[in-house]
Amino acid sequence: MDQFTLNLLVVGATFVLYIGIAIWARAGSTAEFYAAGRGVHPVLNGMATGADWMSAASFISMAGIIAFSGYDASTYLMGWTGGYVLLAMLLAPYLRKFGKFTVPEFIGDRFYSQTARTVAVICLIIASITYVIGQMTGVGVAFSRFLEVDNTTGLFIGAAIVFLYAVLGGMKGITYTQVAQYVVLIIAYTIPAIFISLQLTGNPIPALGLFSNDVNTGMPILSTLNDTVEALGFKSYTGMHDTTLNMFLFTMTLMIGTAGLPHVIVRFFTVPTVADARSSAGWALVFISLLYLTAPAVGAMARLNLINTFYPNGVSQPAVELSQIQTAPQDLWVRNWEKTGLLKIEDKNGDGMIEYNANPDTNELDVNRDIITLANPEIANLPGWVIALVAAGGLAAALSTAAGLLMAISSAVSHDLIKSQINPGISEKGELLAARISMGVAIAVATYLGLNPPGFAAQTVALAFGLAASSIFPALMMGIFSKKINNSGAVAGMLVGLTTTLVYIFLHKGWFFVADTASFSDANPMILSIKSTSFGVIGAVLNFATAFIVSGMTKETPQDIQELVESIRIPKGAGAATDH
């Protein structure tokens, strides 16, 4: 059986599984559509959160960025896990006690203001759509490879499937489907990593293999990697080449963005008790860390294998012959990925060899970082079923997160905007219809912008974290930990945080991500060494400061709201969630 048929079979089988579960658990009422009736066990909820959380950015994109940036990319690893500590201690238990369905509902009630609720909806939509653009980039990469079409066609096919999939079920369908998706994606991620770690180091655990000796050189694998990349003129793998300032701010932005992303927070509305909300965050991180502890090994080992493809006899020997790349069975992966347009080789100097090095004038290989994880098993010549499994895993990751985000967007529009403000008399049926229409619009916008994405999948997603970090996280935190912050303070804070961050991003990535309207670049940022992906935490600080100043100058928080804050701080009396 050829690889193409095998890919179709494995990916097809996983899709049948997800859709089957979605139909079996189809949402009946609006309450089920949004929050799955609250019967979800913390461990299962942790797995579903893991699937929700680990998107195309984590699965498809992150290891590729680590492969090329080495230590500097540690920001993604710490940033996308450390946020769970904040969630568990600062947000999840109190939001569960509050007991409503959506993040804007909490902000609207706590700050006793429809305006606050509307502003929260806007923040949520902007952050979520940016996030979906990143997913679409990843979906495009995955579909283009396994259907053997160009990247744009892959993106359109992916968008159509995401739409069908998200519209089919509500949260309940999604919760159980996502448990299945977690299982598929974690198996797909770890199996090739174990194979490759065994090949290179003899250690079956990739996280330990990364710090073990290379079986060929007898030196630690990271030393081999450092020597290899430096011989080609690249910067060392384990050294710090970013600035300390940017690394610090970027990690912090990803952490507080994690705790401010609506599709993750709503997961904690669906556990039975406040105590479960705390441990759910821990279970989520357990399942997430299985991938995150493996990713650094995947990145480092993929980089070594990639270099070995082009320097089969070592970097001190001549590079691979072009004729070999075009015919040899072990280089089939290069030819396969050339079809997607995401990998390009060009014999610039016509010497019949393909050189790979750090000099843009003589380098003859251009690799999109987003292909590394998917191409990894092919580069290492692993069996066909492993390659098919990784394609299925990548799609599971992208689909599950896109679906979770689209749920968050559609519930914000139908529940927080239309039902509570524009047309309170809307029927349940009308509300569900509005939810589905808003999903369709969000996918269309994200697909259009995904054609020319502002960065690799993980970088685009990082921008979404900055937006959530600057707007939603501070509002939630102040709502719980300070009784002083009032309606005007919260609204002003969110607006300042969101606007400054959005403008900073647009100045670097182009207005509405149209690249040629950018005034600065991340290589030469506007302020010090702060890249657009790292600005979120500064937006958050401005948000906090504005909220405190404005609250100090305006009318005090009413007594009943102060009592509300007191009540969400203690677990006692957390009943089932109530609708408006």
């Binding site: 230590y71 540690s74 690893l77 710490m78 896990t81 450390g82 769970y84 500590v85 904040l86 568990a88 201690m89 600062l90 238990p93 996280a207 990364l210 710090f211 073990s212 030196m219 630690p220 694998i221 990271l222 030393s223 081999t224 990697l225 450092n226 384990t238 710090m240 300390t244 690394m247 610090f248 990690t251 912090m252 008790t273 406040v274 105590a275 705390r278 441990s279 965050a281 821990g282 991180l285 357990v286 860390s289 995150y292 502890l293 650094p296 007191e566 701080r569 203690i570 677990p571 006692k572 009396g573 957390a574």
Partner: protein, 85 residues
């Protein structure tokens, strides 16, 4: 509903716990992983140094311990102050 002084004491104990845990959270990631890495450079591990290990492995492991310890400690505090569900 628990009485006011009891829930105040509970909240203060919670805040103290959070502060302590956030210090650890900060030290293992931003500290060992980024800011203090040059100072830990002397401690070698598998071709690199301890700071690299914390940045790519250690911090995540400590985060896990932190969350479950917090959950366990808070369940105990909930009962001590009579505010459990």
């Amino acid at each position: 509903m628990a009485d006011k002084s009891s829930s105040n004491a509970y909240w203060k104990a919670n805040i103290r716990t959070i502060q302590l845990f956030l210090v650890i959270w900060f030290v293992v990631s931003f500290g060992f992983g980024i800011l203090l890495r040059p100072m830990l450079a002397g401690i070698k591990i598998g071709g690199t140094d301890l700071g690299f290990w914390f940045a790519q492995q250690g911090a995540v492991l400590v985060f896990l311990v932190l969350i479950f310890t917090y959950a366990w400690r808070m369940n105990k505090l909930d009962r001590e102050h009579g505010v459990e569900e």
